[in-house]
Amino acid sequence: MRKQLIPQAPQHCARTRPFVLLAPLLVTVLPACGDPMEFGQDLENPRVLGVHIESEEGHSWPATGEAARVELLLAGDDGPIEARVAYQVCFALETSSGVPLCGETTLADGTTELSASPSFAFMGEAPSSDEPRLAILGVGCTSGTPKLTDDPQLWSCSDDSAPLRFSFEATSKSLDNENPGLDETAILLGDERIPLQASDEPASCDDVPEVAVGESVTLDFTLDEAARSGTTDELLQISHFAEQGRLDRQFTIIDPDEEAHFELEFEAPDVTGPVKSYFVVRDDRGGTSWLSYSLCVVD
């Protein structure tokens, strides 16, 4: 650019060494920004929020010959949603990117009935040497019939409603791992304890703390010690979701040697009524558990 716009310097200067004394100065104009996009913690549409696998022995993946049950957490902006789910449990091909691809061995497949907590079962099986990864693939439909094929692009619902596509991968480290225990988790709003709820319970203003319309409050979480399966070497990832209002973030990460205690800001919506929120805890070893809680928004 500079060479193109400026003629050669006079001869006595051409032999000298140019240098920039003061490089660009001045004014920047901020790029125009479009409308903000949706935040991950806002439940504006029906979504899959988690997949939980529990073997007969209480592990997060079944050993060979052991049965396991798979449960899905589905939610939208008005509480739990009902969906049919088509699923496949398989040993996955060794891939380096993208959605897992099933190999030749399928452990289970089928379609669940319309349910707010779709679940299905399968039996553990030892992988062959070239199929070390385990995967659950699925698609849920709030209406219509789900269709699951070899090509994720074609996972769809028969009535063209938005498909809820999901995948889950497990490795051998899930075999001796237990899902996070959350029953003794404490969530405080000030000094008031917020009751925990099962995820499929409807939101309610009965016996829950109140917050004013538009008010920002701080929620104080102390996770159950069992969130770490009795050891302290698990990294915990907590995902936060709210039907309405705004949580200040989607993720909280707690390092292995860190106390499982954190705070979360919540801004109440502009409408009154109960607001249901969810938290999903993953232990980085294939274990996943979740619970929900409600707050009552008042004038």
Partner: protein, 272 residues
């Protein structure tokens, strides 16, 4: 002749260029040759790559003419064709052996360059390239290359006003780069993130890029020291060029990522 240490392969790349003055004002030029490039190091690694990969090759050819029609005006036109073979491509889904020398490619086009110097104080350049660059990833179908630019127009000019004052301008117009549309996503319940599902590779494009830059500078000669002060304004008409795409957490929403807005820049250069 080159030796690729990582893959332990030799390559031989003969090349030839020539220029022929047909008349006092007309010159023909032609060139051709082979070029080799080793795979990127990780593509050769055992666990995530394929150690048996070979360097990929390019055959490049060009034929052109330069014509000084009148003394202040010269025009150059050059056609080119490039062919890639043994291009390294990823296997579908990244399945082992992860990478193969299965790809080919081709690029062809026409470059023109016009220079006009009406006086010793002025310079004008106009360059335009019409091109198409495609790649075949081993599936028999050609797709657009990531940086394919159908039209690339560049204009630059400067004028010496005297007494150390110089003004200049540059204008660029470039076809937007190809992009691969996101057609949906799959929720990854292992990590609570979404994986994008993509449509046909490079089947979409960013909008065309265009930008005008202006510059004025003043040179003070202070004995052996030259002090130049310049003010340039880039993207004078504040074109909101889209240079990428940002997606929401689940890829259901997208926004264009805008490039540099209007940008005034004041600077000093000392030469001694």
């Amino acid at each position: 002749m080159d030796y690729m240490a990582d893959g332990r392969k030799w390559t031989v790349d003969p090349r030839l260029t020539s220029r022929l003055s047909v008349t006092e004002t007309t010159t023909l030029k032609a060139g051709g040759g082979l070029y080799s490039q080793p795979p990127v190091y990780y593509q050769l690694m055992d666990e995530i790559g394929n150690p048996d990969l070979t360097p990929f090759r390019t055959l490049q050819t060009s034929l052109g003419v330069e014509e000084n029609i009148l003394q202040p005006l010269s025009i150059g036109v050059e056609g080119f064709y490039k062919h890639w073979y043994r291009r390294v491509t990823g296997t579908e889904g990244g399945v082992s052996p992860h990478f193969e020398n299965a790809g080919t490619g081709r690029a062809y086009g026409l470059e023109t360059l016009l220079k006009l110097q009406l006086s010793p104080k002025s310079q004008l350049f106009l360059a335009y390239t019409l091109a198409r660059s495609e790649r075949n990833d081993g599936n028999g179908e050609f797709r657009l290359f990531d940086a394919d630019q159908t039209h690339n127009l560049q204009f630059t000019g400067s004028y010496d006003l005297g007494k150390g004052w110089i003004v200049g301008a540059r204008f660029r117009y470039v076809t937007g780069n190809p992009t691969t549309p996101v057609t949906g996503s799959v929720y990854d319940a292992t990590t609570d993130t979404y994986r994008a599902l993509y449509g046909a590779t490079n089947s979409d494009r960013n909008p065309a890029f265009h930008q005008l830059d202006l510059r004025v500078e003043k040179l003070w000669q202070l004995g052996p020291v030259g002090l130049t002060t310049y003010l340039e304004v880039m993207n004078v008409y504040n074109k909101k060029n889209i240079e990428g795409t940002m997606y929401s957490y689940d890829f259901s929403q997208s926004q264009g990522a805008q490039g540099m807005p209007i940008f005034p820049n004041l600077g000093f250069i000392v030469e001694y």
